[in-house]
Assembly symmetry: C2
Homo-oligomer: 149 residues x 2
């Protein structure tokens, strides 16, 4: 499948991260950043299938792995054994539902309040003491929906 007219924007995003610009990667990336639903690989596979001819599950996994390595998306650990992906552009908290495994964003302004309250110097102290390199912090609120009414 030869590429005809890739949006130059996407093309340069990939180039900057050392990724080849394939049809499949473009479609997957567009779908990923267009949602805040933190889809599973399976859900992405179906979402892409609705827009386009489709691509294989293997490619979905390979591509997501490549995106994560390149820093284009985050891999989130869900509570029910599957993984979810987040085309995050800003830091935010996640709410994880213990019943469904669903992940929702915590509204941005509240997320910020909480994240801003974390002292930076504590983090660098942790890096030093534990001999690790931090990529990011995930703050997850674990709980369940209150049934309305």
């Amino acid at each position: 499948m030869t590429q005809q007219r890739p949006p130059s924007e996407l093309r340069s995003v990939f180039a900057r991260h050392g990724l080849r610009c394939t049809q499949q990667r473009q479609v997957l990336y567009e779908v990923l950043v267009s949602t805040d639903r933190h889809p599973t690989a399976e859900q992405l596979y179906r979402m892409v299938g609705e827009r386009d001819s489709g691509l294989s599950m293997a490619t979905v996994y390979n591509t997501l792995e490549a995106f994560c390595e390149a820093g284009l998306c985050l891999k989130l650990a869900a509570l029910n054994g599957s993984c979810r992906y987040d085309g995050a552009t800003h830091d935010h908290l996640h709410f994880k539902d213990v019943r469904t495994g669903e992940i929702r964003d915590v509204p941005e302004e509240i997320s910020e309040m909480l994240l801003d309250s974390i002292p930076r110097e504590v983090l660098s102290e942790i890096e030093k003491k534990m001999g690790i390199k931090l990529h990011r912090i995930d703050v997850d609120l674990i709980g369940e929906d209150i049934p309305p009414g």
Copy 2:
């Protein structure tokens, strides 16, 4: 298998949480709280097998599920699709290794510093705004080990 001489301490822990006191649950619980390694179900299965005749994987999963429901342990989401269990007695942060999926505790005094800095009122605001009931907060430091040297 009839129970002969259950440690009354454990027995009352289970009773308080509405759990029947079976041989298997006792062994599994003892193994779980004796480690800070955040074992997977598979690892617990092997650890129990070393001490005792053994129990089936199905029972490991059933029992861990029962413990979690009862609040006797935490189910942690690992980054590689498996789940890990934590017989936690105090709040602490976790470091998750993106390469191995391993989970390590962040030392208690640093964990406390960070957790104490999170304003309580922000959490209750989140509960109200999102219509959820929080069980706990997981603060996960995502990163990788720095090779020594």
